[in-house]
C-alpha cells in the first residue's frame, strides 16, 4: 500500500530537526536548523512547505549558505570569479583551476523572493534606472551596489551575443560602474547549411562546426583570463578530469529527475527538485558537497520509491514546467492544487546533459554551451520539451512568463502552439512575479483551470 507523505512548514521543521538530532543525524559543516536562515532575512521560507528528510535539509542548507562559503573562500585566499549568463559552462572551466571558485551572481534573481523584498534590491535597481521593464535579474545589479550579499568577485565573465537583452544591458551597466567584465560571444545557434560540417550537440540539437570552433576560441580567451587570475596556465588534463567529474554530477541529476518524473507518486516535492536542478549550474560553490547532497537525495528517492511513498497521489496531474519560477512558492502551490512535476526546462537543460568526453575539452565545452536552449531557435527548445514531455507522459504544460524578460515577449505562444499541436495537452502561460501573493487568486485560478482541463482530458481518453 502506498503512503502519502506530508510536507513540513518551517515551524514543523524545528520539531523535526530536534527529533532527527536525537536520532543521531549527522550534518555537514554548513548544517543547522532551517529557521536560522529566516534570521538572516530569508523570510520567504516561512511561507514554504518542505520535504521532511535530512537529505532535503542538507540541500536547503547548501543552497542558503553559499554566500558564507564564498566569503570564507575569499578569506582563505581563493579567487572568486563571477560567471554570468551562460548557466553551466564557465564554472566547468573555472573548476579546473584549484585556486578559483566560480559562482553565479545571477542567483540574485531569487533574492527578492527569498528575502520577500526586505533588502529592497528591486528598489535600488529602480533608482539605478533598471525598473520593472527588466527581468528580476535586475536584483543582481543592486546586489553589486549594496554589497550585502555575495563578495564582489575578482573577475566577472559574461556571455554576450545570443543572450537576453535584460542581462546584457544590466551587465554593461555593471561594467561601467567599475566592475570590469570579460565578455565572450555565443552566437545564435543556427541550422547547418546542406553539406556544411555539423555536429550533434548534447541534448540532440545540431550545430555547424564553424560555430563550435568560434565558441571554442572564445572559451580559450576566457581560459586565458582565468589563467592570468590564477597565476597558472590551464592544464588541459585537469580540465578533462573536471569535465568527467562534473558529468558524474549531471548524471546523478538526470537520474534523480527521471526517477521523480516517472514514479507513480512524486518521491521528491517540486520545490526541492527545482532547487536540486539549480545545483547543476555551479554546484552552489561546492562541488564535493553537491555530489554528497545529490547522493543523499537519490538514496532518499530510491527508498521512497521502494516503499511506495510520495508527496502526490497517483491521480495527480503530470505537469511539464517551462522556465524557472521567480516565486518558489508556486512549486508548492502546484502540488497543493493536485498537480505534480513531470518534466522541466528551467532554461538550463544544457547544464544537465553530460558534456561530450571525446573531443578536446574546450571544444567539448563549446558544444555544451551551444546546446543552451536559450541560444538557439525557440523551435529547437520546443522539440526538446516535446521529447521530454512524451517521455514523462506530461498531461499539461505551464510556461512561466518572467516579468520583463526579452525572450518572454515571443517564446510562450510558440512553445505552447507546438506542444498543443503535437501532444494535444492543455498549455498555459502565467506570469509569476518574485512575490506572487498579490496575484495569488489569478495564478491559482489559471492553474486550477489547467489541471481541471487535463483531468477532463484524462477522463475522455
Amino acid at each position: 500500500m502506498s503512503t502519502l507523505l506530508q510536507k513540513l512548514t518551517l515551524d514543523d521543521w524545528n520539531e523535526q530537526y530536534a527529533t532527527l538530532h536525537q536520532q543521531g543525524m549527522k550534518e555537514p559543516f554548513y548544517g543547522g536548523p532551517l529557521c536560522r536562515h529566516v534570521l538572516d532575512g530569508d523570510t520567504r521560507l516561512e511561507k514554504l512547505e518542505f520535504d521532511p528528510s535530512p537529505a532535503a535539509l542538507r540541500l536547503w542548507n547548501l543552497l542558503l549558505t553559499e554566500e558564507q562559503r564564498l566569503h570564507t573562500a575569499r578569506r582563505q585566499g581563493r579567487h572568486i570569479v563571477g560567471t554570468m549568463k551562460d548557466l553551466g559552462t564557465i564554472p566547468v572551466l573555472a573548476h579546473a583551476f584549484p585556486n578559483i571558485l566560480p559562482f553565479y551572481p545571477d542567483g540574485a534573481w531569487w533574492t527578492p523572493c527569498i528575502m520577500e523584498m526586505n533588502d529592497a534590491l528591486l528598489h535600488v535597481a529602480d533608482r539605478l534606472g533598471i525598473d520593472e521593464t527588466f527581468c528580476p535579474v535586475r536584483a543582481m545589479l543592486a546586489a553589486f551596489v549594496t554589497q550585502k550579499h555575495f563578495p564582489i568577485p575578482d573577475l566577472l565573465i559574461c556571455s554576450a551575443g545570443a543572450v537576453c537583452d535584460d542581462f546584457s544591458a544590466i551587465v554593461q551597466r555593471l561594467h561601467d560602474m567599475g566592475h570590469p567584465v570579460h565578455w565572450w560571444d555565443i552566437p545564435h545557434r543556427r541550422e547547418p547549411a546542406p553539406n556544411e560540417v555539423s555536429v550533434q550537440l548534447p541534448g540532440g540539437c545540431i550545430a555547424p562546426q564553424t560555430q563550435i570552433t568560434f565558441v571554442a576560441s572564445e572559451l580559450k580567451r576566457v581560459a586565458d583570463a582565468l589563467s592570468e587570475l590564477a597565476g597558472t596556465p590551464l592544464d588541459l588534463n585537469q580540465l578533462t578530469a573536471t569535465i568527467q567529474r562534473i558529468n558524474k554530477v549531471r548524471k546523478r541529476l538526470l537520474s534523480l529527475r527521471e526517477k521523480v518524473f516517472l514514479a507513480s507518486h512524486s518521491p521528491l516535492p517540486a520545490l526541492e527538485l527545482h532547487i536540486a536542478e539549480m545545483l547543476s549550474i555551479h554546484f552552489c560553490s561546492d562541488l564535493t558537497e553537491t555530489e554528497a547532497v545529490l547522493d543523499d537525495l537519490l538514496a532518499e528517492v530510491d527508498r521512497r520509491i521502494n516503499t511506495q511513498q510520495g508527496f502526490t497521489s497517483t491521480d495527480a496531474i503530470r505537469v511539464f514546467w517551462v522556465n524557472p519560477v521567480a516565486d518558489l512558492r508556486l512549486m508548492n502551490r502546484l502540488e497543493n492544487l493536485g498537480g505534480r512535476l513531470c518534466g522541466t526546462d528551467f532554461m538550463f537543460t544544457h547544464a544537465i546533459d553530460p558534456i561530450p568526453e571525446s573531443p578536446p575539452p574546450l571544444e567539448a565545452l563549446a558544444q555544451s554551451a551551444l546546446a543552451d536552449p536559450m541560444v538557439g531557435p525557440t523551435q529547437d527548445r520546443a522539440r526538446r520539451i516535446l521529447r521530454d514531455a512524451r517521455t514523462f507522459a506530461a498531461e499539461a504544460l505551464v510556461i512561466c512568463r518572467i516579468p520583463g524578460a526579452s525572450h518572454c515577449a515571443t517564446e510562450g505562444p510558440q512553445l505552447a502552439d507546438t506542444i498543443r499541436a503535437e501532444l494535444g495537452i492543455p498549455c498555459i502561460e502565467i506570469e509569476v512575479p518574485p512575490i506572487e501573493d498579490a496575484l495569488d487568486g489569478s495564478i491559482r485560478t489559471k492553474l486550477e483551470a489547467l489541471l481541471e482541463t487535463a483531468r477532463s482530458n484524462r477522463r475522455d481518453r
Binding site: I130, D165, A169, V171, Q172, W184, A409
Partner: protein, 361 residues
Amino acid sequence: MAKKTVTLPIGWRGQPVASALQQKEQEPINIKGHNLTKNVYYASSFVPPEWIAAHGFRPYRILPDGHAASTEAIRVPEREGLCPYAADIAAQAGHKNQIMVFANTCDQMRRAPESVIQDPSRTFFMHIPATWNNPEAETYYQSELTRLGGYLEAMGGSAPSKENMLSIMQRYEAGRQELLASRKSCCARAHIARTSHFYQTGTCPPLHNALRSAPTSTPLMLLGSHLRQADLAIFDQIENAGAHVAIDATDGGEREWPRALQPQNMQTDPLHELAQAYFLTIPAVFRRPNDALYQWLQQAVETHSHLRGIIFVTQPWCDLWKAELPRLQSAISLPILHVPLGGGAHESRATRIEAFLEMIA
C-alpha cells in the same frame, strides 16, 4: 477647374517617408550596366548593402511600417514585452517570396521573426558578434559575410568579381559622402528621407530647393533606439518647438554608418575592407563592451560644439537603450530629455519637448 497635383519633395515635412519611397521599390538599380531588379530586404546597419548588390541583388533597407504593415504579411502578435520596431521588421519575413536578411543584434530582433517566417529558405540570419575587441570576432563577422554571399548565390545571385565589388563599394561610398556633405544644407526630416532613399535605391535624390535652407533653430542630437516610420513625426515636433536634429544618432542613423572605405584597402582585399569598415567602427549599443558608443558621443559633442541637448528616444521594451540612460546622463555634459516612443502620447511628447527647449534656452 481641374485640381492641380503637387508632388512634394522627398522628406518634405509631414510627408510620410515610406510612401514617398514605395514606388521606388520596384525600380532597378543600375550598376555598371547591370540592372539589379530583385530585392533583398534588410534592416541592420551591420549588413553591408554593397555585399548584397555585389551578388546581383537590389539591397533594400526597410524603414518599417507604411510598408510591411500595409501588406498581408503575417505579424508577430502584439504582446506585452514586444518591441514594436522588431515586430515590424519581423513582419517582413512574413511575406512570401521575399528574401530577407536579419542580423541578431538584440534578443528582440533575434526572436521576433521566429513566429512569422513563411519560408525559412528565404530568410537569412546573420550573427553579429557582440564582442569585438579580438581577432576571433572580426574573423567570425567576415565569415558570416562569406556565408551570406554563399546564400545569395544559392538564391540565384552571382559570385562577385573584384571589379564589380570595387565599383559598387565606390558607388556606396560616394553616396554616403554626398549625403554627409549635404547634411547641413537640409532639414533633418529631409536628410533621413534622402538617406532612406539612398539605402533603398542606391542613389541620392537631388536636393530639392524647398529643403535647402539651413536650419537656424536650436541644434539637438537625437539618440537612441531604432525608429519606425511613425516615429519620424518626432523630427517635426522638434522643429515645431523651435529646434532641429543636427545629428541623428539613433540606431540606423548616421552614427551607424561605416567608416569611409579606404581605396588602397579596397584594391587589396575588398571584402576584408568591407568587414573592417562595418564591424570595427560602428559604435553600436549592443557591443560588449560598448565603450565605443561613448567615445563616439564624446567626440560628436566636442566636434559639434553648437549642440544644445540630446533627445533620447527608446522603443517600448528596448532594454539595451533604456539601461543606458543613467550612464548617458553622467557621461555626457549636455542636457538629456528621455522621450519614450510608441503609445498615443503625441501631444504630451510635444509639450515635453517644448519645456525641454525652454529649459536649455
